[in-house]
C-alpha cells in the first residue's frame, strides 16, 4: 500500500513541478491582484461579455445555445468563438459567481491552468521520444510559456494549442507501430478537443500538420500502409465525432452568416477571404526577428527566445540521425514558412488548393506549429548538452551564444546612446544579451547543473515577453478597457427598469463592448465576428428596421435619428435617447401580404405605406388571416434565452409576432400542438394562431447541436473503450 502511494506520488511529481513552474511564470496574475491579461479590446469587449452570458446561463441551469442579447438574437454555439462546447471553459462557467459576475481571480486561473495542461501534453510528447525528464520539462515550458503559446491571449485560440502536441504524439506512436488504431483514435480525440475550443485557425493548422504526417507515413511505411491508413481513418473519424458538438452547429451557422474578416464587406460562407487579407495577417519579417528577440512584433508577439531557438538548432544537428528529429524539423520548417504567409509561396498554395484553408486568415498564427517543432528539437538539444560526442558542437554553441550576446548588447547600447526609436523592446534586448552571455558561461563547462542553468536562463528569457505585456491595475491607460465595462451600469439599470422588455441599440464607437451580453439587455448591436445573413441583408441601420425590432432606446453621444428624444444622461456622459414609435416586442397582426421574392420583401420593410403594426408579409404565399380586433395584446409569460412562453387572446385568426431574429431552429407549439414558425417580415418570428386564448411556446431546438452532441458522446464512448481496453491489456 505504501509502495502504491509512493508510486502515485512519483507520478504526480512532474505535473506538480510543471504546475509550480507555470504558476511561478504567471505570478503576476495569480499571486498578486495587480495585473490582468484582459487588456486587449477583443478580450475585454468581446470575449468577457460572452463568458459572462454563458456563465450566467450555466448558473441558471441552462445550456447557452441562443444569445438573445446581441444583434436581435443569434446562435451562440454556432458562432464557435464563445467556446460553448469547450471543456476547458466549463470550470470557469461553473465556478461560483461573485454577485452574479465572473470574478477576476477565476478569469486569471482560467488563463493559467490551460498552460499547465499544455505543458503536460508537451512533456508527454517529449518523453515519447525518450527525452530526459528535465529536458522534457524545459521544452514543455518553452512551448507553453514562450512563443505564441504564451502570447495568444484569446482563450478560444489558446485552448486549441493545448491539444496539438498530444494529438501529434499519438500520430507518431501510430507511425511507430504502437497500437496504431488506438493511437489513431486518441490522436483524433485530442484533435477533436482542439476543434472544440471554438476558433478554427489553430485546429486547422494542427489538422494540416497531422494530415501531412499521416500522408508521409503512408508513403514511407510501405510495409504497414494498410495499418497506417486504418489509423489515419480512425483519427479522422474520431476527430469528426468528438468535435461534432461544435463543428456541426458552426457549420450550420457559418453557411447562413456573414463574417467580418478584414475585407471591405462582411463575407458570406462561399466567398473566400480575399488574399490581401491574408497578406495583412502574415508574419512580417520583423515579427520573424521577434521569435528571437522581444519587442519585434507587429500583431502576434512570437518571442520564443534566442536560447530556445539555438537549443533547437543544436538538437537538430546533434540528433539528426533520429527519425523524430526529422519530424520535428519538418514541423518547425513547415510552421515557419506557413506563418510567413504571403511572404512565401507556401501558404498561398494551401490557400488556393486546400478547401476551407482560406477561412484561417491569420497565417502568422501558424507559428505555433514552428514553436512545437523547435521546442521538440530543443528537448533533444538539451539532452545532448552533456554528450561528450558532441563536445565540439557544444563549444560552438557556447561561442554562438557569446558572440550573439555581445552583438546584442553592443547594438542595444549603441541604439540607446543614439536614441534610435525602438519598437517596444527598450532594455529587454540588453537583457537577452546578458542571458546569452550567461549561456556562454554555463556551457563552457559540462557539469550536472549545466542543463538546469540552461533551463533557468531559457525560462528567464521567455519571461521577458510578459514584462511589458500585461496591464497593471495602476496603469490606467492599459486597464481602461475593463473599467469601461463597468461604466455603463447606470444605462443598463435605466433600460432594465423600463416596461415592455424593450430592446436597445448603441454606437460601438461610444460603447465599444458587447453591452447586451455584459449587462443582460437585448440589443441590436454587439462586438461579434459574424451575424446571420437574415439580419445583415436588411438595412439594419435604418430607423424602420430598428423600430421593427422594438429598439426603443439608443445609447450614444449624439442621436442616431432626428426623431429621437433625449431621456437620460449617464455618469459617463453618454445619453439615452428614446424612439417613441418603436414597436412592442410582441404583437398581433391580422393581415399578411405576399412578397414575391427577397428583394421585394426588403423593399416592403422600408416601405412607409406598409403599417408594420397591422400588416406583415412573407416571401411566397402568406397564411390566411382574418380581420378583427383582439380583446387583449399578447404577453410574455416567461422569457429565457432558449425558450419564450406567450399568452395570446385572439379576436380571430391572426399571427403573433415576436420581433426576435428568425432562425429555422426555433420551434413553436400552440397549446402543446406543434405549429410552424413563420419568417414574418422576412426577418422575425411569427406564429399563426386561431381565435381565442392560447399559450404559445417558442423553443430553440437546433438539430445540429443535438446530432453533434450525440456524435460527440459516441466519440467519447469510443475513446473510453479504447483507453480502458488498453489499460486492461
Amino acid at each position: 500500500m505504501r509502495v502504491a502511494s509512493f508510486n502515485t506520488l512519483r507520478r504526480l511529481q512532474i505535473p506538480a513541478i510543471l504546475f509550480l513552474i507555470v504558476v511561478g511564470f504567471y505570478w503576476r496574475l495569480v499571486l498578486t491582484n495587480q495585473y490582468t491579461w484582459l487588456h486587449g479590446p477583443d478580450y475585454a469587449n468581446q470575449v468577457m461579455p460572452w463568458y459572462q452570458f454563458e456563465a450566467g446561463e450555466w448558473h441558471h441551469h441552462r445550456i447557452p445555445l441562443w444569445d438573445p442579447y446581441e444583434w436581435a438574437g443569434q446562435s451562440i454555439i454556432g458562432q464557435g468563438q464563445p467556446g460553448v462546447a469547450d471543456p476547458l471553459n466549463l470550470p470557469l462557467f461553473w465556478w461560483p459567481l461573485r454577485k452574479s459576475w465572473l470574478s477576476e481571480g477565476a478569469m486569471h486561473w482560467f488563463y493559467v491552468l490551460p498552460h499547465w495542461i499544455a505543458a503536460m501534453g508537451f512533456y508527454a510528447l517529449c518523453r515519447e521520444f525518450a527525452r530526459s525528464k528535465i529536458a522534457s520539462v524545459i521544452a514543455a515550458c518553452l512551448y507553453t510559456l514562450g512563443g505564441l503559446g504564451s502570447s495568444l491571449d484569446w482563450p478560444q485560440m489558446n485552448h486549441a494549442t493545448v491539444w496539438g502536441p498530444v494529438a501529434l504524439l499519438f500520430v507518431f506512436r501510430a507511425a511507430r507501430g504502437k497500437t496504431p488504431i488506438a493511437s489513431g483514435v486518441l490522436s483524433g480525440f485530442f484533435l477533436g478537443l482542439a476543434w472544440l475550443s471554438g476558433h478554427h485557425q489553430i485546429p486547422i493548422y494542427f489538422t494540416l500538420t497531422t494530415v501531412g504526417f499521416w500522408i508521409h507515413f503512408f508513403i514511407v511505411e510501405k510495409d504497414r500502409r494498410w495499418q497506417i491508413a486504418q489509423a489515419a481513418a480512425a483519427a479522422m473519424i474520431f476527430l469528426f465525432l468528438v468535435s461534432a458538438i461544435q463543428t456541426l452547429p458552426a457549420l450550420e451557422y457559418g453557411r447562413e452568416a456573414r463574417r467580418w474578416a478584414g475585407a471591405e464587406d462582411a463575407l458570406k460562407w462561399n466567398q473566400p477571404v480575399p488574399y490581401y487579407v491574408h497578406e495583412t495577417f502574415s508574419m512580417s519579417p520583423q515579427s520573424m526577428l521577434g521569435i528571437l528577440l522581444p519587442g519585434f512584433d507587429t500583431s502576434y508577439p512570437p518571442h520564443l527566445g534566442f536560447i530556445a531557438v539555438l537549443l533547437g538548432l543544436f538538437g537538430m544537428v546533434t540528433t539528426w540521425e533520429e527519425r523524430s528529429t526529422h519530424w520535428f524539423t519538418a514541423i518547425a520548417a513547415g510552421g515557419f514558412f506557413y506563418s510567413l504567409g504571403a511572404n512565401t509561396i507556401f501558404q498561398g498554395l494551401f490557400y488556393a488548393l486546400v478547401p476551407m484553408i482560406e477561412k484561417a486568415r491569420v497565417a502568422a498564427i501558424a507559428q505555433i506549429i514552428f514553436d512545437l517543432g523547435i521546442c521538440g528539437l530543443a528537448a533533444a538539444g538539451i539532452d545532448q548538452l552533456g554528450n561528450i560526442e558532441w563536445a565540439v558542437w557544444r563549444k560552438r554553441l557556447a561561442w554562438t551564444f557569446g558572440t550573439a550576446g555581445l552583438i546584442m548588447m553592443s547594438t542595444a547600447a549603441v541604439f540607446t546612446l543614439m536614441k534610435i526609436i525602438w519598437p517596444g523592446a527598450e532594455d529587454r534586448w540588453m537583457m537577452s544579451g546578458w542571458l546569452a552571455l550567461a549561456c556562454w558561461l554555463v556551457l563552457r563547462r559540462n557539469t550536472k547543473q549545466t542543463v538546469l542553468w540552461i533551463g533557468f536562463l531559457a525560462f528567464t528569457e521567455i519571461s521577458l515577453t510578459t514584462v511589458r505585456s500585461w496591464a497593471s491595475n495602476d496603469a490606467k491607460d492599459r486597464s481602461r478597457l475593463l473599467e469601461g465595462l463597468a461604466s455603463g451600469y447606470d444605462i443598463a439599470e435605466f433600460v432594465r427598469t423600463r416596461p415592455g422588455a424593450p430592446r436597445m441599440s448603441f454606437v460601438l464607437d461610444d460603447i465599444p463592448y458587447s453591452f447586451g451580453d455584459w449587462w443582460g439587455i437585448e440589443t441590436i448591436e454587439a462586438m461579434v465576428p459574424s451575424t446571420p445573413e437574415e439580419l445583415w441583408r436588411n438595412d439594419v441601420w435604418s430607423r424602420r428596421t430598428n423600430e421593427l425590432f422594438g429598439v426603443r432606446y439608443y445609447a450614444s453621444k449624439k442621436p442616431r435619428f432626428a426623431e429621437l428624444s433625449k431621456l437620460f444622461v449617464s455618469k459617463s456622459g453618454l445619453q439615452v435617447w428614446e424612439d417613441p414609435d418603436a414597436l412592442p416586442r410582441i404583437w398581433n397582426v391580422h393581415e399578411a401580404l405576399a412578397a414575391k421574392d427577397l428583394g421585394k420583401a426588403l423593399d416592403m420593410l422600408q416601405d412607409p405605406k406598409i403599417d408594420l403594426r397591422k400588416q406583415t408579409f412573407v416571401i411566397g404565399s402568406p397564411p390566411k388571416l382574418d380581420t378583427c380586433d383582439d380583446p387583449a395584446p399578447p404577453v410574455f409569460v416567461s422569457r429565457v434565452p432558449n425558450r419564450l412562453v406567450i399568452d395570446a387572446n385572439m379576436g380571430c385568426r391572426g399571427m403573433v409576432i415576436v420581433d426576435d431574429l428568425y432562425d429555422k431552429n426555433w420551434k413553436a407549439t400552440v397549446d402543446g400542438r406543434v405549429v410552424p414558425v413563420v419568417e414574418a417580415y422576412a426577418i422575425v418570428r411569427g406564429v399563426v394562431v386561431d381565435k381565442g386564448p392560447h399559450r404559445i411556446e417558442l423553443i430553440y431546438r437546433p438539430l445540429s447541436v443535438y446530432v453533434g452532441a450525440l456524435l460527440s458522446l459516441f466519440g467519447l464512448a469510443g475513446v473510453c473503450v479504447v483507453v480502458f481496453g488498453r489499460v486492461r491489456r
Binding site: E264, P274, F296, N343, I345
Partner: protein, 734 residues
C-alpha cells in the same frame, strides 16, 4: 530511361505553374499591372486578336494616329509564333480577350523561359536537380521578370538557347552547325518584338565568337565562316520582323525620353541613359527586394550566393569561366554611364544607342547566376571536398547575421526602404538558411534528394518576393486599379459607336482608346509614329479638322467651341467639334513643294486650301483638270488593311483619303493598279479620270512578304542543317 528524362522538366513546369497560383487558382489577381502593359500593350493585343479572329493579319492599325503600321512597329510581337497561340485563343462572344487567356499566356512564357535554361544546363552536363534549380532562378528572378512586357520576356527564352549552341562551339563541337543554330535562335529572339534583349544577346554572341576565334590554336580565314553563318541565319530567321522594322524606323519618330520624339538618324542623348542605368547602390537589388532601382534584377541571396559558390568551386571548368565573364560583362554594361565601357560602345558601335536602358543588360547576369548556381549544386551534391564550402557557409552565416542587425536598425528607425526595413530581414534569414544547408549538405548530413531539394525550395520561397508579390488584389479597393479606365469607358465607346458617319476622335485618356474600343483616333499610346503625321502642326484645329476629328474624349475641352454631347460614368466627357472634313474628297489643283519642311509650312499657310488643293513633292504624270461640276466620294467597305471608295469625278482629279500615307499601301482604280501619292505630305492620294470609279487602297508591304520569305528560308536552312548528322566532337577545351 527516356521517360525519366521528362520528369524533371515536367516538375519544372509544374513548379512554375504552381508559383503563379495567384493567376490561375484565384480570380483576384492580374499581371497586367503597369501603365505600359495595361494602356499600350493590352490594346494592341485586343486589336491583333480581334483581327486574327476575323481572318485578317493585323499589319495595319487604323485606330491610332490616323493609321499606323502595327507589325513594323515591332512591339506587338506579330512575327513571333508563340504570340500567335495567345492571339488564337478563344475570345469572348463580345469580342474581348479572356483574362484567363492573358494569365496563362504569362505563365506559358515563364515556363518556356525556365525550360530554355533547363536545356542549356543539361547541355552543360548539369544534373536534373541542378538544371531545375537554374530554370527556376532564371524564370522567377532577375530583370527578365521585372520587365514582364511579353515582347521583352519572349526574347529571354532565347538567351540560354543561343548560349547553349555557342558553348557547344566553345567545347569543340561543330562550329558551323552550332553556329547556324545559335544564329537561328538569335533570329528568333529578334522576332519577339523588342530589340533591347536581342541586342544584348547579340553583343554577348559577338563577344563569344571573338573569344572563340582568339582561342583557336591557329587562326584561319575559314574559321570566320562559322560566325558569319551564325549572323547570316540571325538575319534570315529574324527577317520577318527585322525588314518591316527597318523599313518603318527611318520613317518614324520615337519617344525616348526627349522633349520631342527622335528621328531615326538622331542619337538618343547620353544623359538619358543615366536614370536607366544600374546605379551603384542599385546593385544591392540583386539580393534585396523592393529597392528603388529601375529594372530591378532581384535574384535573391540564395541564387546569388550559390552562383558565387559555383564560380569558386568549379572555376576549373571553361564553361564556368566563360559564363562568369558573360555575367560580368552584362553587369558592367548595365552600369551604363557609371563606367566608360558603355560610353565607348554607345559612341562606337552603331545602333547600340537605341537600347536606352543599360540596366536591362543584367539579363546576362541572370543567365550567369542561374548556370553558376547549377554548378554549385552539382558540386555540393557530389560531396566534393573543398574549403570553399566551409568559407561560404561561414560567410553566408555572417552575412545573414549582419543583414539581420542592419535590418533591425532599419526597422527601429522605420526606414523608408523595403517596407520599413522589413524585407531586408528576409534576406538575412535566407542567407542563414543557405549557410545551414551548405554546412549540412557538404558534410553529407542530408540525403541527396534533400540536399538538392532544400536550395531549390529556398530559391523559390525567396523569389516569392519578386514582382508577383506586388500585384494588386482586384478585391482590394483601397489601392487604385490601373484597369479601371479600360472598363469604365464602355458607355462612351457605345455612344461613339452609335454615331453615324466616318470621323476620328481625339482623346485625353491614359490608354490607347482607339485600339481598345475599335474607334479611329488621331492619337494613342505608342512608342513610335511615322514622322509624316507627327511633324505636321499636329494640335492645330486646322489639322484636326482636316483629319476628320469630330469628337474629343477628355475631362476638359481643348477648344472653346467644343460642346459636350455625352458624359461617361467616371466623369469623362465627349465633346463635339464644330466642323470636320469628310474622310475622302477630290481636289483638282496640285501645288508642288519638294521640301518636306516647306511643304508642312505651306500646308498651314492661309493661302493653301486643303479642300481644293493638294501638296505634292512633284507633279503627277497625269495632269489634274479644273472644272465646274461637282465631285463625290463615298467610302464603301473599310477594314484595317483595305479601304474601298466610290469616286465620281467631274474631271481628272486626285482622290484624297485622309488616312496616313505609308510605304506598303497600294491603290487600284477600277481594278487597275495606280501610283499612290503622299498627298499633303502625310495622307494618301490617287489620280482618277472623269467619271465614276472604284478606288481600292490595300496595305501589302513588300518588306513583310520578303521578310517572311527570308525567315522561311532561314528556318528551312536550320532544319536542313539539323537533320544532318553532326560530326564527332573536336578538341574539348575544358
Amino acid at each position: 530511361m527516356s521517360r525519366r528524362r521528362w520528369i524533371a522538366p515536367l516538375l519544372l513546369v509544374v513548379a512554375i505553374v504552381l508559383f503563379h497560383w495567384k493567376l490561375w487558382l484565384t480570380n483576384q489577381y492580374t499581371w497586367v499591372e503597369s501603365p505600359d502593359l495595361a494602356y499600350q500593350v493590352l490594346p494592341w493585343y485586343e486589336f491583333s486578336a480581334y483581327e486574327l479572329h476575323h481572318g485578317r493579319l493585323p499589319l495595319w492599325d487604323p485606330y491610332t494616329f490616323g493609321g499606323q503600321p502595327l507589325h513594323a512597329g515591332m512591339q506587338a510581337s506579330l512575327a513571333y509564333p508563340v504570340h500567335w497561340l495567345f492571339l488564337a485563343a478563344p475570345m469572348r462572344k463580345s469580342g474581348w480577350l479572356y483574362g484567363t487567356a492573358l494569365n496563362w499566356y504569362y505563365i506559358l512564357i515563364r515556363c518556356l523561359v525556365a525550360l530554355a535554361m533547363y536545356w542549356f544546363c543539361r547541355d552543360l552536363k548539369r544534373s536534373q536537380w541542378a538544371s531545375v534549380l537554374a530554370g527556376l532562378i532564371y524564370s522567377l528572378g532577375g530583370v527578365e521578370i521585372t520587365t514582364d512586357w511579353p515582347q521583352m520576356a519572349h526574347a529571354t527564352v532565347w538567351a540560354p538557347i543561343v548560349f547553349l549552341f555557342l558553348f557547344r562551339v566553345l567545347r569543340g563541337r561543330s562550329a558551323v552547325r552550332n553556329g547556324i543554330f545559335a544564329g537561328a535562335s538569335l533570329g528568333a529572339a529578334w522576332l519577339c518584338g523588342h530589340y533591347a534583349y536581342p541586342l544584348f544577346i547579340s553583343l554577348a554572341a559577338v563577344g563569344l565568337w571573338i573569344y572563340w576565334l582568339a582561342t583557336r590554336p591557329r587562326f584561319q580565314w575559314a574559321d570566320v565562316k562559322a560566325p558569319a553563318l551564325c549572323f547570316l541565319f540571325t538575319g534570315l530567321v529574324g527577317a520577318a520582323q527585322l525588314l518591316p522594322a527597318a523599313e518603318f524606323a527611318p520613317l518614324a519618330r520615337r519617344w525616348a525620353g526627349t522633349d520631342v520624339p527622335l528621328g531615326w538618324g538622331e542619337k538618343i542623348p547620353y544623359h538619358l541613359f543615366d536614370p536607366l542605368s544600374m546605379s551603384a547602390d542599385g546593385m544591392f537589388s540583386f539580393i534585396f527586394p523592393y529597392l528603388n532601382q529601375n529594372y530591378a534584377p532581384y535574384l535573391g541571396i540564395c541564387a546569388v550566393g550559390l552562383a558565387f559558390l559555383g564560380a569558386a568551386l568549379m572555376w576549373r571548368e571553361q564553361a564556368v569561366r566563360v559564363v562568369s565573364m558573360i555575367g560580368i560583362g552584362g553587369l558592367i554594361y548595365s552600369l551604363g554611364s557609371y563606367t566608360p565601357i558603355h560610353g565607348w560602345l554607345y559612341a562606337l558601335v552603331p545602333m547600340i544607342e537605341k537600347a536606352r536602358a543599360p540596366a536591362m543588360a543584367t539579363l546576362l547576369v541572370s543567365v550567369a547566376v542561374a548556370v553558376l548556381a547549377a554548378y554549385a549544386l552539382d558540386s555540393v551534391l557530389a560531396l566534393e571536398k573543398s574549403e570553399w564550402n566551409r568559407w561560404f557557409s561561414i560567410g553566408l552565416a555572417v552575412f545573414g547575421f549582419g543583414v539581420l542587425v542592419v535590418g533591425s536598425v532599419l526597422v527601429a528607425r522605420r526606414a523608408d526602404v523595403m517596407n520599413g526595413g522589413d524585407y531586408f530581414l528576409l534576406t538575412g534569414i535566407y542567407a542563414a538558411m543557405l549557410a545551414l544547408w551548405l554546412a549540412a549538405a557538404s558534410h553529407g548530413r542530408l540525403s541527396r534528394s534533400w540536399a538538392a531539394f532544400c536550395p531549390i525550395a529556398l530559391v523559390v520561397i525567396e523569389l516569392t518576393k519578386g514582382p508577383s508579390s506586388t500585384w494588386r488584389n482586384q478585391e482590394d479597393h483601397s489601392r487604385p486599379n490601373i484597369l479601371t479606365p479600360l472598363a469604365e469607358d464602355y458607355k462612351i465607346a457605345q455612344f461613339l459607336h452609335s454615331e453615324r458617319g466616318q470621323w476620328r476622335v481625339e482623346t485625353d485618356v491614359p490608354y490607347s482608346f482607339g485600339d481598345w474600343w475599335g474607334i479611329e483616333t488621331i492619337d494613342g499610346l505608342v512608342a513610335a509614329v511615322t514622322s509624316n503625321i507627327i511633324d505636321q502642326d499636329f494640335f492645330s484645329p486646322r489639322f484636326r479638322e482636316f483629319m476628320s476629328v469630330r469628337f474629343r474624349v477628355a475631362d476638359k475641352p481643348s477648344r472653346p467651341d467644343q460642346r459636350v454631347v455625352f458624359e461617361g460614368p467616371r466623369g469623362l466627357k465627349v465633346y463635339e467639334n464644330p466642323g470636320w472634313m469628310p474622310r475622302a474628297w477630290i481636289v483638282h489643283e496640285v501645288v508642288v513643294e519638294p521640301n518636306a519642311k516647306a511643304m508642312s509650312a505651306r500646308w498651314t499657310s492661309d493661302g493653301f486650301d486643303p479642300r481644293r488643293q493638294v501638296l505634292l513633292k512633284s507633279q503627277p504624270p497625269a495632269k489634274l483638270e479644273t472644272c465646274q461640276g461637282s465631285d463625290a466620294v463615298e467610302i464603301g467597305s473599310r477594314i484595317p488593311d483595305r479601304v474601298e471608295l466610290k469616286a465620281d469625278a467631274a474631271c481628272t482629279g486626285m482622290v484624297i483619303l485622309n488616312d496616313v500615307y505609308c510605304p506598303g499601301w497600294r491603290v487600284s482604280v477600277d481594278g487597275k493598279s495606280q501610283p499612290i501619292y503622299e498627298a499633303d505630305g502625310f495622307v494618301r492620294g490617287v489620280v482618277v479620270d472623269k467619271g465614276k470609279h472604284t478606288v481600292v487602297f490595300e496595305y501589302s508591304p513588300w518588306s513583310v512578304k520578303f521578310g517572311v520569305l527570308l525567315s522561311l528560308i532561314g528556318l528551312a536552312g536550320t532544319i536542313f542543317v539539323g537533320r544532318r548528322k553532326e560530326e564527332p566532337d573536336g578538341v574539348n577545351y575544358s
